[in-house]
């Protein structure tokens, strides 16, 4: 009995996580499409994409994120969506680590919804590592058990997590105090 209950709880938590990832990827893909100019600049200056290919690369990245979000929404394609999400976030993580290793901390990585006022650092690395790990977790869970359509409460949970993620994103993009008691 308790095994069945805990399995159900685990499936519900994974579904909430997947709903959050789907909402985040759809929002991120939409944002990249709306802010195409910034996305092109980021791809050129941060990812090293040649300038003439940047418009196509921007469209491809925005589409890939939106596609991953849609796939996560569909139960039969959720595992594939999670793998695509892990590839995307893992790719961004490697680009961030590469930029930090080369001392290019001040470049805009395009990984926040607003304009970044802080240099690249531990926060971006940790955030992308967590996102990549959570996407792999969803992919593994989808392979292991039956995948159900999202319940209304799970969709709301995903949206609530997205709002909290947005708040964290905004807070961490604020100019950091140089010194002081708070941070």
């Amino acid at each position: 009995m308790s095994t069945v209950v805990s399995l159900g709880v685990m499936q519900s938590l994974i579904a909430q996580l997947a709903a959050f990832q789907a909402a985040l990827l759809l929002a991120s893909g939409l944002h990249k499409w709306i802010a195409r100019g910034r996305t092109r600049t980021v791809l050129t200056e941060f990812a090293g994409v040649p300038r003439r290919l940047a418009p196509f690369a921007a469209a491809a990245v925005a589409s890939a994120e939106a596609l991953a979000g849609v796939l996560l929404w569909v139960p039969s394609w959720r595992a594939a969506g999670a793998v695509l999400a892990a590839l995307l976030w893992g790719g961004y993580l490697s680009l961030i680590l590469h930029a930090i290793a080369r001392g290019r901390r001040d470049v805009d990585c395009g990984c926040s919804f607003g304009a970044a006022q802080r240099p690249l650092g531990a926060y971006q690395v940790l955030r992308n590592a967590v996102l990549t790990g959570s996407a792999l977790l969803v992919a593994a869970a989808c392979e292991a058990g039956a995948v159900q359509p999202f319940l209304p409460s799970q969709v709301l949970a995903g949206l609530a997590f997205l709002a909290l993620y947005g708040a964290l994103d905004q807070t961490m993009s604020l100019t950091a105090p140089r010194s002081g008691e708070l941070l």
Partner: protein, 204 residues
């Protein structure tokens, strides 16, 4: 729909609302931070020009060891903070100074400076726990840098040039000297001039 499911949905909606409110507040802070000018240290009329070579001096510290002021310092900058044991504002600035010593230790050396009787300064250093800072008592130093009011700070860059100066009453004033060095904007007037005139709203 059971009561449990309904309450769970209500809780998620509440959390969603809370997240949106937090996001809006953080966004508002960011917008306000971009709109307001930094609290720059007040630059007073002084004999030295920003960018000019700072006077080089070697003076005895309160503990007897020589303290070198100005000159090229092997990639490190130097902050001279002129204060006085009898100055109440100087005392309120000391926590910010300790924070700055930690936060900026990678590139900055801080030197405290004053004038008057040595005994008072020794007692001041003991009472306020300032033994970690080089402390110079020299009227000549203050005159060389044109110090007229306290607490006054002078930031000398790694090449020995005057980077920024000003009357510092708060942590923000002190940090504005570091920001001035990083951005190459010497004063608040120069910063506002670079931003251009603000558009007037109906309330102005």
């Amino acid at each position: 729909m059971s009561f449990l499911v309904a309450s769970q949905i209500a809780l998620w909606i509440g959390l969603l609302t809370l997240g949106v409110v937090c996001m809006a507040l953080a966004r508002q802070i960011g917008v306000l931070h971009q709109r307001i000018a930094p609290a720059g240290a007040l630059s007073l009329r002084q004999p030295l020009k920003l960018g000019a070579a700072a006077p080089e001096l070697v003076l005895p510290g309160l503990d007897g060891s020589p303290v070198r002021i100005g000159g090229a310092r092997g990639g490190r900058s130097q902050l001279l903070l002129f204060l006085s044991p009898g100055c109440a504002v100087c005392e309120t600035l000391l926590p910010a100074l300790r924070s700055a010593q930690g936060a900026e230790r990678g590139w900055l050396d801080i030197v405290l400076a004053s004038d008057g009787e040595g005994d008072r300064h020794e007692a001041f250093v003991r009472e306020k726990g300032l033994s970690k800072f080089p402390y110079v008592v020299s009227e000549h130093l203050g005159r060389s840098y044109g110090v007229a009011k306290l607490p006054y700070a002078v930031l000398i860059d790694e090449a020995g040039h005057l980077s920024s100066t000003g009357l510092v009453n708060t942590r923000e004033h002190l940090e504005s000297l570091f920001i001035a060095k990083e951005t190459g904007v010497g004063s608040i007037q120069q910063f506002l001039g670079q931003r251009g005139p603000r558009p007037a709203s109906s309330g102005e």
